[in-house]
Point group: C3
């Protein structure tokens, strides 16, 4: 946990990261209650302050100094200072401290008003691209009104339109939340989709029909862009054991040769995700959300487990930060520290050469994402302003 | 693993613990075979001595000195000395060494003659309260004879009578052993319960009917007391994967706003339990049984995993000791050493302030249980004898 | 990770191991592509070199010096030198470096031409015995032609013939790959077997019928030899979550009192396997394949988890090496280093005596296998040549 030293730490500290999956930051000052509720995947309950968590401790330790406060500042002082600076200035400090050259932003979940990718990019002095959440798209199609028999075609067309935008670099599904992965892996027949769409369009509500979720996943692979899948850890709206990525095995077998599949977060099933990344060409993973929620004290342990068998070309960095720009910063800080620590220790033990360690650090922090997403992610600084021409 | 030093170690060494889930100690001297069988969750098999386990090593290392033997005394010497002292004196030594102010004792499982809570309290110089095991209560109802149509009401009434006793602080279910948690989460209809009761009352035996186990769990939430649930690790009478607490998700959602639910043991699903504690207000956890079975060499690793995302208000201490008072002591020793070690290291790495560390130590060792169970657990030393007025 | 010192390291370095589950080494020089594909449980994919994995790094670090190359030699230099030496000489170096007295060789999987047990023994200067893979035997029975009604008897008879050979010390099933363990645990009725055989013998292909896999497992317990079961980690032809050994619980209960069951590999379900070994007399485990795939940087962590509650009589060593003799060596190197490291640390922390540590080291590296398999494994050096009289 101690702040690391040595060439791998230095290299990772200087590396511009690609944060291949995150959300925007809030665009308003936050009440203590609102801030607390964003600190946790749960909620703020009487007598159980979200500050009294590993993530809360990490914010006090590693974010307070960026607000000109002492390390470990108490929550009240932290919030006062944050409000005094204003959300925009606080956000700017955390986002620039993250040291990312690219953020890939899931724009499909926003119960709070959040920065757009363009706003996030501006505040961070980085580039930002968009990840299209397919469930939101499907629900928008339903909300606009569609005949059951036309649902498949209209959804497909809407998805094709969405990914045609130059700033869109990936699609995402939250099937883990809706049905989990214990699904029939086969592509549903047209008639099944129509029948399921009829039920859903009548009943309304979120897309939770298993046939339509399968259809969404199969539509995703036809879009040609990398597919991000939430797996493992998330909020209360989840059956954790249904989000075990191992449950995707049959579907991964059927869809091999199509698009890259990025397993997000994965914890506590990160070893299962590592197995999938080792045996399926198209599978990649990160431990996103687990980085800042486990904090500096444990994120290295999680990352070490995730890397036990994962090919070094298959791990990516994400923060999965949502709402609090603190988490864009903390994710990067945790990732850099954890990865540098484990690589440096292996170099020191002569299990790894320094040049291999530096290569692995650059791959996982940046180059694997560049390779996978291609342009514009791989050319983020190609215009004179220092930000990519295709940025949002 | 080294005996720790520093203020957090000192604070935890001095902290009177609340052992919120344990059993009594045996009330007879034990043959070598009987002792060995209590050392393990398995059995004593030819050629595979239960002493040759992490728990067996821990007993020789950390319990032998309390019997005036050298550290690591061999099993024969240990047993000779234990018999020479007598079970009562040996028990007294271990129970006082545990340094608990309160034991919450599950009285519903006693294949051996065990100390009552009052006897345990006397031997330990502590207070002891009772945890009512609901399956035992249901089976007693069946044994006394009841009409199927009256089973629900009679069981409910028996449970209400049981929890009305002032020394009862919680109820417990071993549904994990009987059906596992992959149950329909809904409250069963009256007619279903009657039908299932008719089958069971005719067939006899333990309560293993899924409808009646569901009914028991739903009855539990109406009693108003905290509900302890065995999860994960236990003896051979278990399907481990059916004891994964993540399987409780839908039931936890349906019963939110009712009673606190304490997930006991959890290993190897302690990360799943941690997730539940982070997203459901009513969920708490411990790693009870895993502490002394993994021993000083590994209990810290288990506790670190359990605490990765668990809010610090959500972890409790229990020993789950059964039969051998050695385990009441070892559980406490393992917990204190593991928690102090991890907190002190974080203080040393400047990831945590000392005052926060001391607060977290007191919370998890004592105050979270006091807060959760309320009186009499929270007022354990309120009579002049130094033991609580409402103690058994 | 640092090369360990101290008496436990010395003892384990000198201990002749029993590698109770491995495969043969290739009998031809390998193209770079062929070598790379054997480095991984996945495949060699464009842009994702199997050298860029923990196993690849471990080969460069720990195998290169045995080919007279510097530590961390690059892949090209490694392959050139290996080819210059020839597969036989390279194999001889790695196999003797493994320091095993016995190899138990699964001869039922050989997509590449591999050394026979006798050839492996000769190259290693050790003894080698055979493990009969039952699925291959059943498929050979089918290939030779059999009436459905006679399948059970003919398979049984073929298995009895196979295990009667003096060099056969165990049988093995890959049910994990074929159906997984979420099977009806009961022995199938004769009529069911006949019916399933009729379907299979008509349809052809691999043995994947659930009734016939159950029948195979029940036949295995009648053969009287230890039964090795692949569990957990393996290649892409697996549903990992169906290979969780906890799923075997009911079957283990029904077959208790019959043959020893050896759970191979287990990762990431090694804690589940440890639980089974702690509560079922007949259950043993190893973390075979996970040793060289996680490599020196992580195999200790995996072994520590596997040993959290496992009785010390219940853990065995295997390499599960296939094809590359590098892995026969790396498995042994990882096992020795990891086990010695964890035991020595416990001795240093006074949690374990040196004599207990040495006993545990000898048990897990050799004696548990000798005890379990009996002769000829337990008498491997009984002829004047230094190799056992009953060796292949």
């Amino acid at each position: 946990m101690a702040p690391g030293t040595g060439p791998v730490h230095e290299a990772l500290a200087a590396l511009p990261l690609v944060d291949h999956h995150c959300h925007g930051a809030v665009t308003a000052d936050l009440s203590p209650e609102a801030f607390a509720s964003l600190l946790t995947e749960g909620a703020a309950w009487p007598g159980v302050s979200p500050w009294d968590t590993p993530a809360g401790l990490a914010v006090r330790r590693h974010c307070a100094p960026l607000l000109d406060l002492p390390r470990h500042a108490p929550p009240e002082a932290y919030l006062d200072r944050r409000t005094a600076l204003g959300h925009a200035e606080a956000g700017r400090r955390f986002l620039t401290a993250a040291g990312a050259e690219v953020f890939c932003v899931d724009t499909g979940y926003a119960p709070h008003p959040l920065t757009s990718p363009a706003e996030l990019a501006r505040a961070a002095g980085a580039a930002a691209f968009e990840v299209v959440r397919l469930e939101q798209l499907a629900e928008a199609v339903a909300a606009r009104g569609v005949e059951p028999g036309e649902y498949a075609a209209v959804f497909r067309s809407a998805a094709e339109d969405a990914v045609r935008r130059p700033d869109v670099v990936a699609v995402k599904s939250v099937a883990a939340y809706r049905t989990g992965f214990a699904l029939d892996p086969r592509r549903p027949a047209d008639a099944e989709v129509t029948e399921a769409a009829a039920r859903w369009l009548t009943a309304g509500g979120r897309l939770t029909d298993p046939v339509l979720v399968r259809h969404l996943l199969w539509t995703a692979v036809e879009l040609g862009l990398p597919l991000q899948l939430h797996t493992g850890f998330g909020d209360a709206d989840l059956r954790l054991h249904h989000a075990d990525p191992a449950l995707l095995t049959d579907w991964l077998r059927l869809t091999s040769g199509t698009v890259p599949v990025l397993l997000l977060h994965c914890w506590p099933y990160h070893r299962q995700a590592a197995y999938l990344s080792a045996v399926f060409e198209q599978v990649y993973l990160d431990v996103g959300l687990a980085l800042h929620h486990t904090g500096p004290a444990r994120c290295r342990a999680v990352l070490e487990e995730a890397l036990e068998i994962t090919p070094f070309r298959k791990l990516l960095y994400s923060s999965d930060a949502y709402g609090l720009a603190e988490f864009h910063h903390l994710g990067a800080l945790c990732f850099r520290g954890a990865l540098a620590g484990l690589l440096q220790d292996r170099v020191d033990a002569d299990e790894l050469t320094l040049s291999d360690a530096l290569r692995i650090a650059a791959w996982t922090g940046r180059d694997n994402a560049r390779r996978l997403y291609g342009p514009p992610v791989s050319e983020p600084a190609s215009d004179p302003s220092g930000r990519p021409t295709r940025k949002v």
